[in-house]
Symmetry: C2
Subunit: 404 residues, 2 copies
């Protein structure tokens, strides 16, 4: 009994049969006495197909039109889902991001939500109808259609749950929850029943693909409890909740890996104030999400700065760094896209300082060289060569006894 | 030099190559010094595919959601066209029906335009940009997405041309203009260079598929000059203009045919006032477009009423008539869906009374029985059996010497 936001990803609504299965699950949830607000992604590979079409049509990218194009996808899935619900006797009504009152900034293809109004959703609920909302999209302060970028539908779901005061938010996907390693790499990987927002954030930020980082952040900031679960088996999944001091804290919750990034190194940088600021302002102005940054203590007044960026942004990042070489007084820019980041995440790491040392020992025993290191209070990440990814993940998973 | 509305149908934007060809034509028009407002339909078979999907998902039809679904189609084509234009250095910006200010009533799947605001289109033109507008769609007074029904994109184009005070409106399609018979049936069919709004109206109403009836009506009522032409050959097509007394008026302009209707006959109807009103109010309340209506002088106080309806509406029409049998005091309802309507259209017919007689003679000579007759000042229509359609069209085309 309560108000639940249920979000269904692209594979969950991949074809007519899947859409009918989703409608039946929503029906079950409604029949159990809940009010449901549904958020849907575009069907299956729709978005990929539209991106491909855009490349056939034009060599230049027009962000406003790309958003207009891609938002067709959720329009299709949400209208079909409403029809399937009507077929089951559940009155449903679809809303675009704009109609749902999801107001964003004007940064097309990666807009940020500024406000969620949701008046029409509340009205629909009050009339006993189930609102089905297009994920991934909003309307800008300029009245143009925007998209929220990668993982945008999860963000829509969490933002709606926060705005409507939902009891919790369920993220339905094609896996049964959050695992303590990628099951394709580690056969003994275990599904986690319950993790904290902070762990989910670190897992999402370090390569766990189940939940997008932004939506995990949003959920933590607005204290929206999440359940990540499967729309194929419908079994209970992983709860992501506020950390409870009474919870038994595993020292290490998960091993994650990310092979989507590339490393950039700016060499021979004079060790004086303002250098890093210039470089990373230049990257930020191009909307590049820099991930890890490592700068060593200088030797002889010069130092190197290394950072990782999404591989898609490597070319732009190199151009920015190259363009600033003179201004920075640096000597050289180099790149390596054959890297991987392997991370260990666990809320209990805060109070167990030996974990870091053990990570290094395990990788050393495997003969894997560590190129960059970065840590937070509940995470350790190492950049290694891409080829060693699977060995690193398996050996860490085993060394920390994470198997089921 | 002027303001031109150019509308491109589904086959004109059927794939990436076609979209680029359309963009090049718009570029030519702009480079020639014109301002262009573009209206697009959904790509090729997109709408059919979406309708099919909706049937896979649900047995019930939900008009509001059907509109939400189908409007995804133009969203895709207009965004792609804007990208193709950007590629050619023509700044373009897409607008949904809602963004273009096309306000409709709330009759989903066949909404009527109440008002065209067009403020954002005027702003875009003032900024030197080419607006690309989604055809077929609007936003209702309830703020829901609506579609304008069959031929809706033509209506959008003409309505925009009227609202913006365009010099003329070009309807691009996959044929080179309006022909004086269907070239697939009559090999000698001739393209008309110039016809009056009234003739276009009668041609559209009697089966000529090139231009939708509603848009022809709208064009006449708002005096919007049209050119129907090909987006494959780009050659000059057929101008549809206000009738000019100095124009030489062909007695007969075209032979048209329509095999999309079915005939309903209500027999044994008492010949007293109010009967027809009851029957046709019942049909109108179900939004059925009744076309021809024939009622004979009564013999012995009873009469028969026959009418034609779109074949898709036959089942509903029969149910309505059957339900009213008692109230009407009629004896029987019967139907025939194997019919065709063959029509002769010509502005000069007004002053040449012999045309009707000649039509009957031609059909008689072919041994074709006439089931129903209806005439206007510039049109004669006969309902015949469907099998005789081609023979009827060919013999009339030949008898009235309409060959090229």
């Amino acid at each position: 009994m309560g108000l639940v936001v249920q979000k269904f990803g692209g594979t969950s609504v991949g074809d007519a049969e899947r859409i009918r299965a989703v409608a039946e699950h929503i029906q079950r949830t409604v029949k159990a006495g809940n009010q449901v607000v549904v958020v849907v992604s575009a069907m299956g590979k729709t978005t990929d197909d539209l991106v491909r079409l855009s490349k056939e049509v034009s060599k230049v990218s027009v962000p406003r039109e790309m958003d207009m194009l891609l938002t067709a996808g959720e329009r299709i899935s949400m209208a079909l889902l409403c029809m399937a619900l009507a077929d089951l006797g559940i009155p449903a009504v679809s809303f675009t991001g704009s109609q749902a009152g999801i107001i964003t900034d004007t940064d097309h293809t990666r807009a940020k939500i500024l406000e969620v109004k949701g008046d029409r959703l509340r009205d629909a609920l009050a009339e006993g109808k189930t609102p089905v909302v297009a994920g991934f999209q909003g309307v800008s302060t300029d009245n143009d259609v925007t998209t929220l970028g990668r993982g945008g539908s999860d963000t829509t779901a969490v933002a709606l749950a926060a705005a409507l005061g939902a009891d919790y938010c369920e993220i339905y996907t094609d896996v049964t929850g959050v695992f303590n390693a990628d099951p394709r790499i580690v056969p003994g990987a275990k599904r986690l029943d319950r993790i904290s927002f902070e762990e989910m954030l670190e897992i999402a930020a370090s390569g766990g693909r189940v939940l997008a980082l932004r939506s995990a952040e949003f959920a933590r900031n607005h204290n929206v409890e999440l359940q990540v679960r499967s729309s194929f088996t419908w079994e209970p999944g992983t709860w992501v909740v506020r950390e409870d001091p009474s919870m038994e804290q595993a020292i290490v919750s998960a091993v994650t890996h990310d092979v989507s990034e590339a490393k950039v190194t700016v060499s021979g940088v004079p060790d004086k104030p303002g250098i890093a600021a210039k470089l990373f302002r230049g990257l930020a102005d191009r909307s590049i999400n820099v991930d890890m940054i490592v700068q060593n203590t200088s030797v002889h007044g010069n130092t190197d700065i290394s950072f990782t960026v999404p591989r898609d942004d490597l070319e732009t990042s190199l151009a920015v760094a190259q363009g600033l070489l003179g201004e920075l007084g640096a000597t050289e820019v180099s790149a390596d896209s054959e890297i991987a980041r392997v991370s260990l995440v666990g809320a209990g790491m805060k109070t167990h300082p030996g974990v870091t040392a053990k990570v290094f020992e395990v990788l050393y025993a495997e003969g894997i060289n560590i190129q960059m290191i970065s840590t937070s209070s509940i995470r350790i990440s190492c950049v290694i060569d891409k080829e060693s990814t699977e060995r690193a993940v398996r050996s860490l998973h085993s060394a920390f006894e994470l198997s089921a």
